[in-house]
């Protein structure tokens, strides 16, 4: 199952990296509006005559870029917070965990909507807003794991032999966290891709960037989308790409998650 997921993601990564040069000459230009698929425009054109294949390919770039950077940044930030809170403990730990409670308790998308509206909704703004509201879950997960690792005999031995804390964290605490971090980062990437697409779908995305969400936003704003059949080449490809990428991430994250919980091994969601 994780192989299927990886294959899906690989295809989209290749498309995102290779396609823009091929599609670039199409991207800024407009043609006859609302053309059904043809040899010149394999996915047709939208209501103001933009080539949709070029847009879908450019959208792959935006979605993957946002997913990768926001997912990594949120996990990194949360991981560092969790590492520090778990290892050092004390009042800073208690304060940080209250903050985590807060960020886990608030509704994410409504907050993201408000943040995107306030910050001005560029792509990087969305990434920053996402990281701001998404670091809490990685922090909680990492902290819990650090508390377990901290009790190991070799950590105590290292502490007693006077090794500096950064050495202990780097050599003894951090490495066993990697499988957990891999599962969390993939999950957060999925959340980030979905969040960017969702915001763009609601018209809160970067107006200058082309993403799958903005394609869907424009498609749904076209009143006759379902009546003249244009949904078939306008909304469906972008939606399908989005679903496939999210599915790919979900498959990989589920199989990574399954490796973490030995009780679920064998009887798990996938091989």
């Amino acid at each position: 199952m994780s192989k299927v997921g990886l294959a899906i993601l690989l295809v989209f990564c290749v498309a995102a990296v290779l396609a823009p040069p091929a599609a670039r000459h199409q991207l800024g230009r407009t043609f006859a509006p609302l053309q059904p698929p043809s040899v010149v425009h394999p996915l047709g054109t939208d209501d103001i005559g933009r080539d949709l294949l070029a847009q879908v390919l450019a959208g792959a770039r935006v979605s993957l870029l946002v997913g990768l950077s926001a997912g990594l940044a949120a996990t990194l930030l949360g991981g560092l917070v969790g590492l520090a809170a778990g290892y050092f403990g004390g009042s800073a730990d208690r304060l940080l965990m209250r903050l985590v409670d807060f960020f886990l308790a608030i509704p994410r998308l409504p907050l993201l909507i408000v943040l995107a509206a306030y910050l001005g909704s560029g792509i990087w703004v969305i990434v920053i807003a996402f990281v701001f509201i998404s670091w809490a879950y990685p922090a909680r997960m990492v902290r819990a794991q650090v508390l377990l690792e901290k009790r190991r005999a070799y950590v105590t031995a290292a502490q007693l032999s006077g090794l500096p804390w950064h050495y202990i964290l780097r050599r003894h605490i951090a490495p066993p966290l990697l499988p957990l971090l891999a599962a969390v980062v993939i999950m957060e990437m999925g959340h980030a891709v979905a969040a960017e697409a969702g915001l763009s779908f609601l018209g809160l995305g970067d107006p200058t960037a082309v993403s799958w969400g903005t394609i869907l936003y424009h498609a749904f704003a076209y009143p006759a989308l379902f009546l003249d059949g244009s949904w078939l080449w306008w909304a469906l490809p972008a939606g399908l790409c989005l679903s496939l990428v999210l599915l790919g991430l979900a498959l990989v994250s589920v199989s990574l998650e399954g490796n973490l919980d030995p009780r679920l091994k064998g009887r798990r969601l996938g091989p």
Binding site: M1, R98, D101, F102, A105, I106, P107, R108, L109, P110, L111, I113, V114, L115, A117, Y118, G120, G190, A194, A197, G198, F201, L202, G203, L204, L216, F220, F226, L227, W231, A235, G239, L242, S243, L246, L247, L249, A250, L251, V254, D261, R263, L264, G266, R267, R268, L269, G270
Partner: protein, 334 residues
């Protein structure tokens, strides 16, 4: 006994702190947005109803208290909030509380239906799948639901509109009632509302089932290794008895403590579903309000959603002992 009172006070304090941060957040964020509400009443926008000079604008800002320093505005906000006054929507020219009260029932109807149906469906399917873990049925069901969880609500909404609204033409494409309804009886009204509810509620239910299913299934799978279930199987108790009387009672606990998370997921899902189906709930209102930078309405919407989640968590905390008597006894002394 003393210990218990202390614990309750501590818990209440924590919830209060969360609510206060939400209020401060809620208050500050809309105010940091570019532009101010008067922009949308003045000539800077094409659709603007008025042309306004700077004096009128200053007077309006003063009238709504938007010229005061932020801490003063915040105290003002808290004071009004305490009296149930959620301020006034400058764009809609209605008290926000009334605006929310108009929209909230639709969201409650939609999200409540989806919550009930997805819980029922997810628990049954999850338990069943866990008892058949590893079988082809289990794998298919899990795969399909993972796929559904990966599909955004608006795409499912689109497919539902295509299938039922465009191709089959049996259900309405959007809205919560027929346009300009005139009902002969309350029965006709209920039927019309129900007809409009079916598609959005079905989409939201399907979107939410996956979470319940996966939680239920994974808990159940890990419980199946417990000795008492092995004994039950050895006694050849019927499958239904083992699922419902033996497994379910314990497997329901993690799902129950996920209530707050599920309310958050529902609120998020409802925003998309309401916008796809043009359903006049809070999610649709949030979108409309964001488009016109209507601070107070956004504040109110965000507050209602946040309070719903805090409320759900509070409810779980308060009733968890009833569901699992062991938890309270163990947790209290700790």
């Amino acid at each position: 006994m003393k210990l218990r009172v202390g614990k309750i006070v501590l818990k209440a304090g924590q919830y209060l702190a969360v609510i206060l941060i939400i209020l401060a957040f809620n208050f500050l964020l809309p105010r940091l947005m570019p532009g101010d509400p008067t922009d949308f009443l003045t000539g800077t926008d094409v659709d603007a109803p008025y042309v306004m000079d700077s004096q009128t604008r200053a007077r309006l800002l003063e009238y709504y208290g938007l010229d005061k320093p932020l801490p003063v505005q915040f105290l003002h906000y808290l004071g009004h909030l305490a009296r149930g006054d959620l301020s006034y929507s400058i764009y809609y020219k209605t008290p926000v509380s009334r605006l929310l009260a108009q929209r909230l029932p639709w969201t409650l109807l939609l999200a409540g239906t989806a919550f009930a149906l997805s819980t029922l469906l997810g628990v049954l399917l999850g338990a069943f799948s866990a008892f058949r873990a590893g079988s082809r049925l289990d794998r298919t069901l899990t795969g399909v639901l993972l796929g559904i969880r990966a599909t955004p609500e608006y795409l499912m909404g689109m497919l539902a509109i295509l299938a039922f609204g465009v191709a089959l033409r049996v259900l309405p494409l959007g809205g919560a009632t027929s346009p300009f309804p005139r009902y002969s009886s309350s029965f006709a009204a209920a039927a019309d509302i129900l007809r409009h509810l079916i598609l959005p509620a079905a989409v939201l239910t399907i979107a939410q089932v996956a979470d319940v299913f996966l939680t239920m299934r994974n808990t159940m799978v890990s419980i199946l290794g417990e000795p008492y279930l092995l004994l039950a199987e050895a006694k050849a108790l019927p499958l239904r008895r083992r699922i419902f009387s033996y497994g379910m009672r314990n497997a329901i606990l993690p799902l129950y403590s996920r209530m707050g998370i599920r309310v958050g997921l529902l609120a998020t899902g409802a925003i998309f579903v309401e916008n796809v189906f043009n359903y006049p709930g809070l999610g649709r209102l949030a979108y409309e309000a964001t488009m016109v930078h209507d601070y107070p309405t956004l504040q109110g919407m965000f507050l209602v959603t946040a309070l719903a989640i805090v409320g759900a968590n509070l409810l779980v905390d308060a009733t968890y002992r009833l569901i699992d008597p062991r938890a309270g006894a163990a947790g209290e002394e700790a």
